[in-house]
Homo-oligomer: 335 residues x 2
């Protein structure tokens, strides 16, 4: 069995073990809400519904790439994935999203009050998973993991706060954007790498290199996602072309376009863009005014910083090669 597959299987088993805490007679419905959201039960359950488990996979690869035993980091990997899923549960309510990964979101099935509570419970389970590191790691390592983890969680809520706030705010600039995606996207990836390295016994410098790698990887990925959200190939991304423009998302290209105060900014501000042709024209204006180019430059810059940090970290063995390959795939994606 390949290493990636082995790790992914171990992650799924650890996640299931962590969730059994709610597998009790009087909380079966609660348990079901959790297992549904994790993609294991209910309509549409299966690999497509679980998501890629990218963050825990990167955590375990890091542990192995610094010479540690991946099994000693498994509860930490589960903790990161549970936090990610907690944030999705609340995100879906906050964004009023009816579907995720092609399935009905929890709040549409069980109502907002229960979905809020299920997210809260998943947050607690994440903390419990992290505490389980005490079974394989010294107490000081568990506490240090806890500090990294809680910092990431607080950043996540900072990013979410800014994201919600920006939706209704007229004035958002590029500086705000970086703060927002640092919290919403980069912080959890960078915490995954740092905890992975810590559990593998890496020293402070090495942990820092992995943390930086995760940070810039997250930023590069998000900017790339923003570009694809406007100019992506519909057949590859699965989203309709320019979907971010239709949703009036204040993504990086849009913010660059607004900064320019040209024709795009004028058209965007009037806000009466509905027809398909208008959207195409908006995208064209953005490109003509250099916003796509600037966004791509930003993505390339973050990619360089990520790869520099990874080279400095110098990950070892098969896990190390897989980390390079994964970074390559995430950073050069077409979709």
């Amino acid at each position: 069995m390949k290493l990636t597959q082995k790790f992914q299987q171990a992650i799924e088993e650890e996640l299931k073990r962590q969730l059994t805490r709610l597998d009790e007679a009087h909380t079966q419905l609660y348990y079901e809400m959790m297992t549904y959201h994790m993609g294991w039960t209910g309509e549409g359950a299966g690999p497509k519904a679980t998501g890629k488990r990218l963050r825990p996979l990167m955590l375990l690869l890091t542990t192995a790439a610094v010479g540690g035993d991946y099994q000693s980091a498994l509860p930490g990997a589960a903790a990161i994935e549970l936090i990610h899923n907690f944030s999705l549960l609340h995100d879906d309510i906050q964004d009023n999203s009816p579907t995720r990964r092609g399935r009905a979101t929890a709040w549409t099935i069980w109502g907002v009050p229960q979905a809020i509570n299920t997210g809260d419970g998943m947050f607690v389970l994440a903390n419990m998973a992290l505490n389980d590191l005490a079974k394989t790691q010294p107490a000081e390592t568990v506490l240090e993991s806890g500090r990294i983890f809680q910092n990431a969680c607080l950043n996540l809520t900072r990013g979410q706060h800014l994201d919600i706030d920006y939706e209704t705010r007229e004035q958002v600039d590029v500086g705000d954007y970086w703060k927002m995606i640092t919290g919403k996207t980069a912080t959890l990836i960078s915490a995954s790498m740092e905890i992975g390295a810590l559990c593998g016994g890496a020293d402070a410098d090495l942990r820092l290199a992995y943390r930086d790698f995760g940070h810039y990887l997250g930023l590069a990925f998000q900017v790339q996602d923003d570009i694809l959200g406007i100019w992506g190939d519909e057949a590859v991304t699965g989203k309709s072309v320019a979907s971010d423009l239709i949703e009036r998302k204040k993504s990086l290209p849009v913010l660059f376009g607004l900064e320019k105060q040209g024709e795009f900014a004028k058209r965007w501000t009037t806000g009466s863009v509905r027809r398909k042709e208008d959207i195409s024209e908006l995208a064209m204006l953005l490109e003509r005014e250099g916003a796509r180019h600037k966004a791509q430059e930003a993505a390339d810059q973050m990619t360089d910083l990520a790869l520099n940090a990874l080279r400095q970290a110098d990950p070892q063995g098969e896990a190390g090669m897989l980390l390079y390959a994964l970074a390559e795939r995430l950073l050069n994606r077409e979709a």
Copy 2:
């Protein structure tokens, strides 16, 4: 200065210190949502808005009553109060409550998405506060506190799940009730006592006694609250008489009444009780059918168990006397 006052002041200072983590230029609005909910800022800010800080006070009294230094337990006390307030933030959304402690609830001011996120952030701050115990306590104590704390948090979400579920469910019995209030009310009080004892250096037996005290105190308090919710003196409770009947709350007296399958059950099930006279009659039927008496017996039983556990814990010094006094006040309250 009296001990209670000294502790309360220390709690407030510690809480403020914990929240400064969000006192940054780009998260001022986020910080404001937190400080508003804590009762420190905004319209109606002040002692009435902060609530009684009962749980952290009991935690510190316990630390002192087992011979420990209350200051070494302060971050734990803050953690408990932050978790309590996190649950209130989400509770208000889940219950659709427009006011709390006489003030507008956070979601009515900043919207549901931001209020969910503020609750999440307060949960993270609670975990960070708990981790701060590492500054004054050995690593093993911090980890053990973490286990007690996360267990309480998971129980809290279990109780909340059941509470939301029972609202729409026709069949709820007395057994369900105990499970629900154990999670919603007793678990956080019992964790406060246990963490307080642990931080004060108490051995396992002593911690258990304090935990039991908190558990039964919480149950007794909730049952008493249920009785007052129907037969309480309006002038003392501040709620209208029989308010729980109007809201059709499945409180303990109601569940006893339904069990009886008499006239009360018949009237309750038809559900068409609206007029003031109907409510008074329902309350009268409940009393006549013995439900008030049974509920009072249950409260008395829980009170006995709580006081037995406290006697066994044998709290020492001024803090010990204050614990007895506090228990007395909570258990024999008229409101």
